[in-house]
């Protein structure tokens, strides 16, 4: 560093000025790192949350660079008190850039036009960063020949860019995560601003203290942000999942986590995988089409459909492919989950914006209570709850619950229940099937293979004894008549085992489930 700055300028500067210049080059370096990191963060967030990384990165880079151009152009309008302006711009970059990732994460679940917010941040940061260098160069103007000034400043700027592009994938994302990285860069910008109040003291003349206090406050806020960033996602949580976490929300009902990897994105509720976009079609086609076929065989195409659970809207998507369906009521406990399914672009795309279909009525309530309080009969009922790994869920698999389902089934209608894995949790699976039978339903167990889950089980039911369906609609991705027939054949290691009936006052299923899945963890 000494060797760089000690090369003799045309008119030798005093030692103090040399040190000051060196320090300002260091500022250029830091500022350059921060600027590029914000850009990379925005691009990464955009592609995590909205998908289509080529478009997102292309948009973010283009907009960012052009915004920098705007900033550079605006810089000539700033005259007088340049040192003060520099410190203020640094503070603004610290606030806007530092808070960009947390704010974007927060707004994602609630803001409908997330892309607009994202691009607004990118533009604002771009403009501010575009102001930085021209002003720094003007601050150094009198001290160096123009050719030396431009070569040194740009050298540090480009080296900073290299450092940022290496730090981002190797250190920041894996070690800090997106939110913390953003706040850490905010700290760096605020630090530069605070340092600048000393470094540029001769040019600041008066009112230094006020500026210093503001810089200190921003720095403290950013540091506090880094410390409390667990609110958004934790290192521990990130490590739980194979792919980067792009969305987390603790609702009063559950913890929702969305991750995104090479194979698409995954939804986790309380740490349990609900689907992977790569193979969910297998699960949802196998869930919905057999029950629709069974209902059709006995009562004609279903008109009134009830979905209990299924807040991801994916079973709903399959149901809505039937033009004969007149009305679907979907009852899911968690408004945050159904809102995510509706507004999270990638998820809304995956469920074909099914919640916006006029045939759909969404109810956020506990299915157990809702069934008790609402009359009505349905031609098909799809029961798609998370696995019974706690007592609150366990009640939704009891004889009492299935009696209520039965009471809501049209005389010739059919119902289906997702019933965990008959291979990994054989007793749990048969406990569900036997409990449904004990509630007075005729049942046909069946299963399917979903790569993300393994072998998965369902139970098809009607009030009257019936034959398994033999025809599904053509042109499905996974299910055809041959696969349908195979699903109802139970291999030897998944056949019936004697089990207790799951009732409200014994919750036998939760105990089976806990014991069986513990073996695989």
């Amino acid at each position: 560093m000494e060797s760089l700055s000690s090369s003799p300028p045309p008119s030798p500067a005093p030692a103090a000025d040399t040190i000051r210049a060196t320090a300002l080059y260091l500022n250029v370096f830091i500022v350059a790192i921060c600027g590029l990191v914000y850009e990379l963060l925005a691009g990464t967030l955009g592609s995590y949350l909205l998908g289509d990384s080529v478009t997102q990165f292309s948009l973010v880079i283009g907009l960012y660079l052009s915004a920098m151009g705007v900033g550079a152009w605006l810089s000539r309008k700033l005259d007088g008190e340049l040192a003060r302006r520099f410190v203020e711009i640094e503070l603004a970059v610290a606030v806007v850039g530092g808070l960009s990732a947390p704010v974007l994460f927060l707004s994602f679940g609630t803001v409908v036009h997330f892309q607009v917010v994202l691009l607004a941040f990118v533009s604002a940061i771009g403009v501010l960063v575009g102001l930085e260098l021209p002003i720094l160069m003007r601050l150094l103007e009198g001290q160096l020949a123009f050719k030396d000034l431009i070569s040194r400043v740009l050298t540090f700027d480009y080296i900073g860019a290299l450092a940022a592009s290496l730090m981002f994938p190797l250190v920041l994302v894996p070690k800090l995560g997106l939110v913390r990285s953003s706040l850490a860069m905010g700290c760096a910008n605020a630090g530069v601003a605070l340092w600048g109040t000393w470094l540029l003291a001769p040019q600041l003349a008066k009112r230094v203290v006020g500026l210093r206090v503001r810089a200190a406050i921003v720095l403290i806020v950013m540091i506090a942000g880094v410390v409390t960033a667990d609110y958004f996602s934790t290192w521990a949580e990130d490590e739980m999942y194979a792919d980067p976490v792009v969305y987390t929300k603790q609702t009063p009902y559950q913890r929702i986590v969305v991750t995104r990897g090479k194979a698409g994105f995954q939804l986790f509720l309380n740490g349990n995988l609900q689907f992977s976009s790569a193979d969910e079609y297998r699960y949802h086609e196998a869930l919905v089409h057999p029950v629709m076929a069974a209902a059709t065989a006995y009562s004609g195409p279903p008109k009134q459909v009830l979905i209990l659970g299924g807040g991801d809207g994916l079973a709903l998507r399959e149901v809505l492919t039937y033009p004969t369906v007149e009305h679907v009521t979907l009852v899911d406990l968690d408004p945050a989950m159904t809102s995510l399914s509706r507004h999270f672009p990638a998820l809304a795309e995956l469920n074909h914006h099914s919640f916006d279909d006029p045939r759909v009525t969404l109810v956020n309530d506990d299915a157990m209570v809702w069934l008790d309080e609402h009359p009505g009969q349905y031609d098909a009922i799809v029961v798609d709850f998370p696995d019974p790994n706690n007592f609150a869920l366990g009640k939704l698999f009891t004889k009492l619950f299935y009696r209520r389902v039965r009471a809501h089934l049209a005389p010739a209608g059919a119902a289906v229940v997702q019933a965990t894995s008959p291979l990994f949790a054989r007793r749990s699976y048969w406990c569900i099937a036997d409990t449904m039978a004990a509630a007075g339903l005729a049942v046909h167990p069946y299963h399917v293979t979903v790569p993300s889950f393994g072998v998965w089980g369902y139970v098809l039911a009607r009030v009257q004894p019936f034959d398994p369906p033999t025809h599904v609609p053509p042109h499905l991705r996974f299910l055809n008549d041959e696969a349908l027939a195979g699903m109802f054949e139970m291999p030897a290691d998944m056949t019936h085992v004697p089990v207790e009936i799951n009732q409200l006052d014994n919750q036998a299923l939760v105990r089976y489930y806990e014991r069986e899945w513990r073996r695989w963890e």
């Binding site: 506990d366 609150a392 009891t398 009492l400 409200l504």
Partner: protein, 512 residues
Amino acid sequence: MLLGAPIAAQLACRSHARALPPGTLLETGMTRGHSLVRDGHVPVPQRTRQVGVAIVGGGVAGLACAWELKRRGVTDAVVFELDDVHGGTARGGASAVTSYPWGAHYIVAPQASGEALVPLLAEMGAIESYAADGAPIIDEALRCREPEERVWYLGRWWEGLYLDAGASADDRRQLEQFKHEIDLWSAWRDDRGRRAFAIPRSAATDDPRVTALDKISFAAWLDGKRLTSPRLRWLCDYGCRDDYTLTAATTSAWAGIFYFAARQKGPGAPSQTVVTWPNGNAALVAQLAKSARIETGVTAVSIDDATGRIIAIDRDGPIAVDARKVVVATPAFVANRVVRSRRGQPHGDYGAWVVANVHLNERPIERGRGCPPAWDNVFRDSPSLGYVSATHQRGRDRGPTVWTWYYAFADDDAASVRRKLAGAGHAEWAEVILTDLERAHPDVRDRVASIDVAFWGHGMVRPRVGSCWSDALAARSQPAGNVHFAHTDLSGLALFEEAFDHGLRAAREVAT
């Protein structure tokens, strides 16, 4: 500014949290009872009316009597209740969120189809089917949902009332031995085939080998069996506080064993299912009340057992009620003031209770510490009995709810209860309740909308040593002239099933 705002907001938040939630003190008829009955003054009535059977007291015993009379074709019975609400300590309340109990909140499932409660439960649609042995199977929606109980101890919740975690080999051995002793009693039959302990107790034996247990305390009986494990003794003490307002040291051993053995069909059998409703036994009260003619706000101050004439005070003043038969379905301390021939006679000892309904906007965060929310939630180191969640049975596991918090003045006599209560208004109770709940729910204050508090000064008769089997107790059930008696305290202990049994007995006496 930048830093000041959040701190100010936080302070505002704190001072808000310190403010106690609003709520009311429930009137349980005590004031009216004290002012009209205790002073002994009998006004001269200006009006007279005739009724067939006058039932004085609209608690479970009185309502059961009215219910049974209706079933027996007696249509001219009227229930007179001093309070503005019937149901006694089995009454309930309701909010927009849920209904909830104000006192008694469960019964034990009948063991056989012949039991007196079965027709009532059948009438309510509470019986799903009958087992092969004829035992009624209670509707699944009413069988207490798992997890039934949990205990807060050392910073986490443990499933069940008996604290198994950390129990030594000796603790476990003693628990097994205790269960064995209970098994022996549940298998025991006298030469007429009657059980040692049964609900109601009128179906059980009066064999001196069993009744002798009334002469010693439950604690002495446990000591005699060398059952000294602190975990087991806590369980026994808790049971005595919860059901009797006593501790094991003051409870009759007969009543202590009754608590465990009467609920068990036979040796090794699990305890009979707990049957409950969101509003507790108020659901049973509502069913009984359907067929009854009830007049509230009517206080009987004097009953002449020779003539059957009642002097009462209703909303219009004093009135004479002439009845063919009178059933006094009040606790003995009231009966012994108003029934002429009973005046001045001794009555049993009664325990005081505070019951609070805590209305929550949202449930406290569970933080994943141990057993998830149960129906009955007990704090191991608290003098309270914990709380029951009104939404548990219904299956509403999130959002607003009502917790019914119970405090029994165990062992305390009336004078020391009065001392403890001196100056305790709503605010004091709200603070006590919140502090108690904070043991396990540090964030509860922010979630409480209101707290309603009821004080039951004579909440239940207490089965003290020597009080469950005495000639005096037996004599109290005997009619005097045209006056018959029905109340759970005639059993020496307070249970829905006992009150019901006495109500039915009185109805049989009156109807013949």
